[in-house]
Structure formats: C-alpha cells, structure tokens
C-alpha cells in the first residue's frame, strides 16, 4: 500500500502510572501526558490540527469523558475523533492517527489513550459489554454463579488461562518459563520512569510462591490495574524532518480479528478449538510486514513491544508475529535473547505485565518502540534500533493491531 503522505511519529508523552492517582482527576491525568508530549516535541499546541482520543468506555464510570477534557487535550477549535475498541483502543487510536495524516487531511495529529481505573469499577464496564452474551448464557440454563466459575473468573484472565494451558501443552513451557518472563518485565519496569509495578529484585521463586489466581496463572504473574495516559504526535515526513532529530516513520499498520475464544459468536461455542493458535495475529502481522516491506521479521526487526498482560501471552505473541520459530520462545527467554542487551530485546519498557492502563496500554507499545528508535526511551537498549514493532490485543479478547515503524521512510513501495 503506497500512500501519498508518509506519516511519522515525532514525540511520545507519558504520565506517571500508579494504581491510584488520587492527586489528579481524569482530565489532569490526560493533560500530564499531553504536556509531556508537546514539550518534548518543542512545538506550540496551536500547531496541532486534529485530536484523536480513546479509552475503554465505562471502565472509570464516565461515558464520553472527552466532552469535559477538551481543553486538557489541546483540542480547542480543532476536530476531535474518539475511537474505542476495548483493549486495543490505543492501537486503534494510533492507526486512526496514521490514517488521518496519510490521507492528507491533517498535517499534525495528536493521538491520546488514557484510563483512570481507580475512579470506577471495571466490572461496570464489563457488565455492559458482556450483557448480550450473559443473556444467551442464561437462555441455555446457566446460572450467574456457574457462568462466573466456568469463565475462569471472567474477563481476560478467563481466556488467558486457557491460552496458557494450550501454550504450555504445545511448547512444553513450564511455570518457571512463565515466571522468567514476569521477572524480566518487572525488572525492566524498574528502570523506566513512568511504569507502575517496579520490582528491581524480584526472582522466579518469588513469583512461583504466590497462589494460583486461575490455573495455571499465579497472582504474581498477572498485570496490575493502573491509572495512566499516553500521547503521541503524528505528522508528515516534511514536518517531522524539521521538528525531530530522528523522526520515526510508520510504515505498516494492520488490525485483524479472530473469532472470540471460548465463547464464540453469540456464546455458541468457539470454532477456534486451540485458543493459542491466533490466526488473527498471524494475518495481521503478515499484512503489516507486507506494507513495510519486511520479509524476514525475525532478522529485520530490532525491537518489539508486544501486548502481554499475562506471561504466556508474551511467549505466544512473539512466536505468532514471526519473531521466533514456533515453540522456541521459552528457550530464547532462558538464553537472554530478549533481554535488554540481547539480540532481539522485547518489552524493555516493562510491558503490559507491569503497567496496564487499559485504554493507554496498546498505545504505549508503539510509543515505546518509537522512543527506542529515537534513542529517548526510559530503558534504552544499548544497540541501535532501526525497525520496531508495536502490537496490541483486546477488543472482545480477539482484536489484534500491529504498527511497524522504522527510521527510514517507506521508499521502495512508492
């Protein structure tokens, strides 16, 4: 796909993430990230042409929060668009920003993802999402208690535990392998200024000591619920060259969906018999790499940020998006290939496993990947990063977004 305008990321901003940011309200939280982003880019807020924002609806008890934080998003007198796709909201907002610039409509777009989960109750949001499915469940004779226990505790962990079971069966990964991923993520998070769970001295034994939350996942392996926001400035190639030292060009984007695991269409069972098969991720990676002109992702990609609230998913995604051979990821993690100074560093920001502000999480992945290319990341890898990948997972636990970026524009396809 050749486009007339080449979009580029010039700056990414974060606010400090914590389980309860009671010192600020939602609008001020968003403003912290926006201010950080605009300040780093060294531009005026009047230069921004359009604002795109999104968060998971009703997770903080407020619907349409963008109506009362327009000023805090630097959106005065500017067109504003809201995109929400559940867990992939951040990824979809980034892609929407890419489309707005690539179409030639706007020169400078501010993309924002945010979530202040401590304000409301996540269950309220999930109840409104899942109500349609619950109705069909009860039609089949399910009681709400049985429903809850059979969905493995409900929400994302219910699906992730099944994925973990199948992944462990497929690749012979052990619980130690899962704990190793957690240790790497939490230690990386300790070196990054905006992350939530900073645990510089955590060990594999510490993780394995915690009780099961949903077999085979333990309490210590599960992502936190954070308050936080992320902002990103996307602009054209010409402007990016004037503003940034190293502009990061977005060369490929894709979002594909799988059939919803376990529950399936209208709760009529899943056609996806193996929950860790993930055809959607494979297809979406293939399309994004195709746009970016990448034939050998395992050799050409220097840095990857994958969306992994649970450690088994990190192992699964890096295989499905083509960074490692199938069932080889646990070995790679053991040998330190994915560590900060390894051949292919993964999730050096700490990943979703250490910080999870739902609406911002999928945007923090491409944002951190872009910062690694710029050389401005909080936990910068020692080697030079040319090409990087930002991945997102969510929706009704089946939507996948991919953003492939590089320090070189997409020349060969024009």
């Amino acid at each position: 796909m050749a486009h007339k305008v080449q979009p580029a990321i010039i700056s990414c901003g974060f606010c400090e993430h914590a389980s309860k940011r009671s010192d600020v309200n939602m609008a001020e939280l968003v403003n912290e990230a926006v201010e950080d982003c605009i300040k780093k880019a060294n531009i005026d807020w009047k230069d921004i042409d359009a604002v795109i924002n999104g968060n998971m609806p009703a997770f903080e008890g407020a619907n349409m929060p963008e109506l009362w934080m327009g000023d805090h998003m630097a959106a005065k007198n500017k067109p504003m668009l809201r995109v929400t796709t559940g867990g992939t909201t951040g990824g979809s907002v980034t892609i929407a920003g890419y489309y707005s610039v690539a179409s030639g409509l706007y020169d400078m777009v501010l993309a924002i993802g945010f979530e202040q989960q401590s304000c409301g109750d996540t269950t309220v949001g999930l109840a409104s999402v899942g109500l349609g499915e619950f109705t069909i469940f009860s039609d089949l004779g399910y009681t709400i208690e049985r429903m809850r226990s059979n969905m493995g505790g409900g929400a994302a962990i219910g699906i992730a535990s099944y994925q973990a079971m199948n992944y462990m069966r497929r690749s012979r990964a052990t619980e130690e392998d899962l704990a190793r991923v957690v240790v790497q993520n939490r230690r990386n998070a300790a070196k990054n200024w905006w992350t939530h769970l900073k645990m510089p001295s955590i060990t594999i034994e510490d993780v394995l000591d915690t009780p099961y939350i949903s077999y085979p996942l333990r309490f210590g392996m599960v992502c936190p619920a954070s308050d936080g926001a992320c902002a990103m400035l996307i602009t054209t190639e010409e402007k990016a060259k004037q503003i940034a030292d190293i502009p990061v060009y977005i060369n490929g984007v894709a979002s594909y969906s799988n059939e919803s695991a376990i529950l399936g269409i209208d709760c009529a069972g899943a056609g996806q018999v193996d929950p860790c098969e993930q055809l959607g991720a494979m297809k979406s990676a293939e399309v994004a790499y195709g746009q970016a002109g990448i034939s050998f992702p395992n050799k050409e990609i220097d840095y990857a940020e994958v969306y992994s609230p649970f450690p088994n998913q990190e192992l699964m995604w890096v295989e499905r998006v083509g960074l490692f051979e199938e069932n080889k990821a646990p070995e790679a993690y053991q040998n330190g290939v994915t560590a900060l100074n390894g051949e292919l560093p993964v999730n050096c920001s700490g990943g979703v496993n250490s910080t999870n502000a739902i609406g911002a999480s999928a945007m923090e992945r491409p944002a951190e990947a872009a910062l690694q290319i710029m050389g401005k990341a909080g936990n910068q890898v020692p080697k030079t990063v040319h090409t990087a990948l930002g991945h997102g997972w969510g929706g009704s636990i089946n939507l996948i977004t991919h953003v492939v970026m590089s320090d070189e524009p997409q020349r060969k396809w024009r």
């Binding site: 912290e32 109840a127 349609g132 109705t135 208690e145 059979n150 018999v273």
Partner: protein, 171 residues
C-alpha cells in the same frame, strides 16, 4: 531519566464524589430458533449439533449463522456422547464457601463437532490430571429440564492413547 519537573508529588487531593448506577434495566433481544430445538433435544436425551450444508461444519452448541459461508445451517445431526478436551482450567464453585477443592473447567469438543464449549468435570478429579486430548463422556442429569445442564458433567473414560499422550507431555 529524572521525573519531569511539572509532576509534583505534593498535589492537593482532588475531591471525590461517589456515584451509583442501576445496571439491570437493559433489554437485549436475540433469536431463539436455534436453541429451541437444541434444548428440546437435550430434554429427550439427544445431543444435537447443527450442520452447515455448504461447508459441512457441525456446531455444538448450534449457531444461527455459519461464519464461513454466511448461510443459515438447518441440518440437525445427532452426536455421540463422547468428546475430547480441547482446553481446561480450574476455578472455585461460587456456592462452595469454604473453597476446599477447585472445580475442573473444561472446553469439550464433542466427537463429530467442530466447535468447543465450556463444561465441568466432577470435583473429585484432580485438575492437574486434565490434559488436552483427554477423552470424556457426557453424564446425564437425573431430572432433565431442557437446559445446557441436562448434561450434568463430563466424566473421564479410558484413553487408548494414554501412553502416547503422556509421552507427548513429558517431552
């Protein structure tokens, strides 16, 4: 990297106002045409799957629309009582206040069907002993009322390929 200067740790606390929502005033309409026959079949002791004439995919429980061909499947087929475990986990029964023993939760792929759905195994089975590909058999409830739980639970049956499965896991 040091914290940006404008992130002040000593903000004054913002004021908090508590709100409350009634959530249960929704109406959600859905099509019953597929579940009626299915649940009637369960009441009579038959396990019914719905087959798409176009691609021969059998869905159990039945689906209203075949996602591959975008047609309405209308051929009901009888399925055997046996199946295999596609994936599994364990959780506590909400009625079990003491939480003594977790309840194994399994996704069963009925023999002859192409889709999976959730069910339980009895509590006295250790959830560690569940493996993917384990053969199971449906056990009917004493009183059948026409619901998904007319199948009370699934029980493990003898696995002719147990040695192979074990070897596969230990590799």
């Amino acid at each position: 990297m040091p914290l940006p200067a404008y992130i002040k740790k000593d903000y004054k606390r913002t004021r908090t106002l508590h709100g409350n929502w009634y959530l249960m005033n929704y109406k959600y309409k859905f099509n019953l045409s597929r579940t009626k026959v299915f649940l009637k079949g369960l009441k009579e002791g038959h396990i019914l799957g719905l087959k798409c004439r176009s691609c021969n995919t059998v869905s159990f429980p039945p689906r209203l629309i075949c996602g591959r061909c975008l047609v309405m499947p209308d051929q009901w087929v009888r399925l055997p009582e046996t199946g295999t475990i596609a994936t599994g986990s364990a959780s506590y029964d909400t009625n079990d206040k003491n939480r003594e023993r977790p309840l194994p939760v399994i996704a069963v792929r009925q023999d002859g069907a192409d889709t999976v759905w959730l069910h339980n195994m009895p509590k006295d089975i250790d959830f560690h002993s569940i493996y993917i590909g384990m053969p199971v058999k449906a056990v009917w409830a004493k009183e059948r009322t026409g619901s998904w739980f007319d199948i009370d639970h699934y029980d493990a049956i003898e696995d002719p390929a147990i040695e192979l499965n074990k070897k596969e896991q230990e590799k």
